[in-house]
């Protein structure tokens, strides 16, 4: 598939229209919103300029809006790269502020550790953000509202969800590009597990596991379909992700307005077949995951992709014929 360095007006309009067709009819195929693949060799690069470029290219009008940045904070292990790098999140915060957002918060509800600030401290958020605690909402302990699921994929009929996220104008999912030992890959859609409050469901949010992990991811996507995604692929994780894998330097950031399109693209970059990732097929249907239905901007997939190590049990989701040149 060809890629242009920037998102053209035609791509953007076609993507937006395609998304509308898909949402409206359920079965009609159309182009998804475009996905940007941008190079960033390390976290010392000008990530602020990169975030500004993403906001500009995707025409994100956040003037006067409340923006919530949702990184992936799970556990801390100095020997690997579990969490979204704080410099990525800080750069996004500054860029959204500069774009006119009325309020930008960082919010997360880790699934294992209930002492969230301790985890954020270990992960470098306090040393990166001045007064981090004043910018941060622990979604595990936030006020909640019960939300009913209409035609759920999982066994859930409703979920209590944090008001900080329900009340924001733009949710930005900022995951780490990682393999996942149960669902294949954890990206912008799986990252939404962190919205489910531990204060109601506990640590871990085991109710999602029993309801079906892939199905619960698809349900959360249904509840937050307009989540903007910015994936930290500067250093990803391969092997036994999302916690015990090994660092995989990739030097990229992947972004877009459609989480399905972003995650499918990330899968291809990781040499994972998105059509074999259950939550993607549940959320969009296998046919909609075709590469030609996802407009690409910036780098070509083939130019940046690399085979992520997968656990033997996940070899069945390996992309059989990855893009030439990768």
């Amino acid at each position: 598939m060809s890629a242009s360095p920037n998102i053209t007006r035609r791509q953007w309009v076609a993507g937006a229209a395609g998304t509308t067709i898909l949402a409206g009819c359920g079965t009609s195929l159309g182009k998804l919103a475009p996905v940007s693949i941008l190079r960033a060799a390390s976290y010392t690069e000008d990530l602020y300029a990169l975030m500004q470029r993403i906001i500009s290219e995707h025409r994100l009008d956040v003037r006067g809006k409340r923006v919530v940045l949702k990184p992936n904070l799970v556990e801390f292990d100095q020997n690997t790269v579990i969490n979204t790098h704080p410099k990525m999140v800080h750069a996004a915060l500054e860029a959204f502020r500069a774009a006119g957002a009325a309020d930008v918060r960082v919010a997360e509800g880790p699934g294992h550790r209930r002492v969230t600030l301790d985890l954020a401290d270990a992960a470098g958020y306090f040393s990166t953000f001045p007064k981090f605690e004043s910018l941060f909402t622990d979604l595990n302990l936030d006020e909640v509202t019960k939300v009913n699921l209409i035609r759920p994929h999982s066994k859930l009929s409703s979920l209590y969800l944090p008001n900080t996220v329900l009340g924001c104008d733009l949710l930005v999912s900022m995951p780490k590009m990682k393999t996942h030992h149960w669902v294949g890959a954890t990206l912008s859609m799986k990252n939404l597990f962190g919205l489910v409050p531990g204060g109601v469901y506990g640590w871990p949010k085991n109710v999602l596991h029993w309801a079906g992990i892939g199905e619960s991811i698809a349900d959360l996507h249904t509840l937050f379909p307009r989540t903007f995604s910015i994936v930290d692929g500067i250093v990803g994780m391969e092997g036994n992700g999302p916690i015990q894998g090994t660092p995989r330097p990739m030097g990229i950031v992947v972004a877009g307005a459609d989480p399905v399109a972003v995650d499918a693209t990330c899968c291809r970059i990781m040499h994972i077949d998105p059509r074999r990732v259950s939550y993607l097929t549940l959320a969009a249907g296998e046919a909609q995951l075709r590469e030609d239905l996802i407009p690409q901007a910036g780098e070509k997939i083939a130019a940046v992709s690399a085979a992520f190590a997968l656990l033997p049990s996940l070899e069945s989701i390996r992309l059989v014929n990855p893009a030439p040149g990768s």
């Binding site: 301790d118 506990g202 085991n206 036994n240």
Partner: protein, 292 residues
């Protein structure tokens, strides 16, 4: 201690409960911990004082929240009783005997889904061997899910406290299972994490806060595993900066006769952490409400 109590009094909501943060609405967990902390500070007996009024209105908020099934929901508006029921039972004799009985019955009706008949039958039919650490009955955070370390430890403490006054064979059976559950869920380093010692065959390491609460629940145990766990807890204490984690570690270590060091912590803390710090301070003076 006094400053923690003052901070808790300042944080009480007009409805009598406490929120997780200074401005949040009332939840069961922070309300129970705040009441326990005030009890640990012995303010219950100070009739007519601001503290006594706070305790009375807090207890009114709490007792009004008991559900018809005997349990408590995490907060009003959540229509499910959960693990927080154990915290209400930990309060020193503030509930009526009937309310305590209903709460304990609800807790006894709960167990990890992995120890249920249907789950185990399914494993057997699939030819899957039950993991060694799944053989014992613990408690879940939320009904219908698996058992984990923290809710098992806290329910263990609540039922143990209840059983010290009214011996009950059913409770003693669950206490024995709960203790075995905790000992079986130790991580490779000797401490505890949330309760998953391995993920697909890969070993996991422990966390400070869960190591502290598990050690607290295992107070009085002479199990050979405890010695190593205490060393892990002391190591965690030296490395932790959060009031919540260091308070649990302090409570756990004190319960085993250790003298944990005072450590510096981050200044910005929630109601649960402040309450636990007050309780850890009281425990240093010989008054550990979790175990006495």
């Amino acid at each position: 201690m006094a400053s923690y109590s003052e901070e808790l009094l300042d944080r009480q909501n007009p409805d009598g409960g406490w929120g997780y943060s200074r401005v949040g609405s009332s939840w069961t967990e922070p309300t129970c911990y705040a009441l326990l902390a005030l009890a640990a500070g012995e303010v219950y007996s100070s009739e007519g004082t601001r503290s006594a009024v706070a305790v009375r209105t807090g207890l009114q908020w709490l007792t009004a929240g008991q559900r018809s099934d005997g349990g408590w929901a995490p907060r009003s508006g959540v229509d499910e009783s959960t693990w927080v029921t154990a915290l209400a039972l930990l309060l020193p004799a503030d509930l009526s005997a009937g309310d305590r009985q209903r709460a304990s019955q609800w807790l006894l009706s709960q167990s990890g889904r992995e120890s249920g008949f249907i789950y185990r039958l399914r494993l057997r039919l699939l030819g899957v061997r039950l993991d060694a650490n799944q053989q014992f009955d613990g408690w879940p955070w939320y009904p219908g899910t698996a058992a984990w370390v923290a809710p098992t430890a806290l329910t263990f403490l609540a039922l143990q406290k209840l059983n010290s006054s009214t011996r009950d064979a059913q409770i003693e059976k669950r206490l024995a299972e709960g203790k075995a559950f905790l000992l079986a869920r130790r991580c490779r380093d000797g401490g505890w994490n949330h309760g998953s010692t391995q993920a697909l065959g890969y070993d996991s390491d422990s966390y400070p806060e869960t190591t502290g609460v598990a050690l607290l629940a295992l107070h009085g145990s002479n199990a050979p595993e405890i010695g190593n766990a205490l060393e892990v807890a002391e190591r965690h204490l030296r490395a932790s900066h959060s009031l919540e984690a260091t308070s649990w570690l302090t409570l756990g270590l004190l319960a085993h006769g250790r003298s944990p060091a005072e450590v510096s912590v981050m200044p910005h803390q929630g109601t649960v952490a402040i309450s636990l710090a007050a309780m850890a301070g009281a425990a240093r003076q010989g008054r550990n409400l979790f175990v006495s």
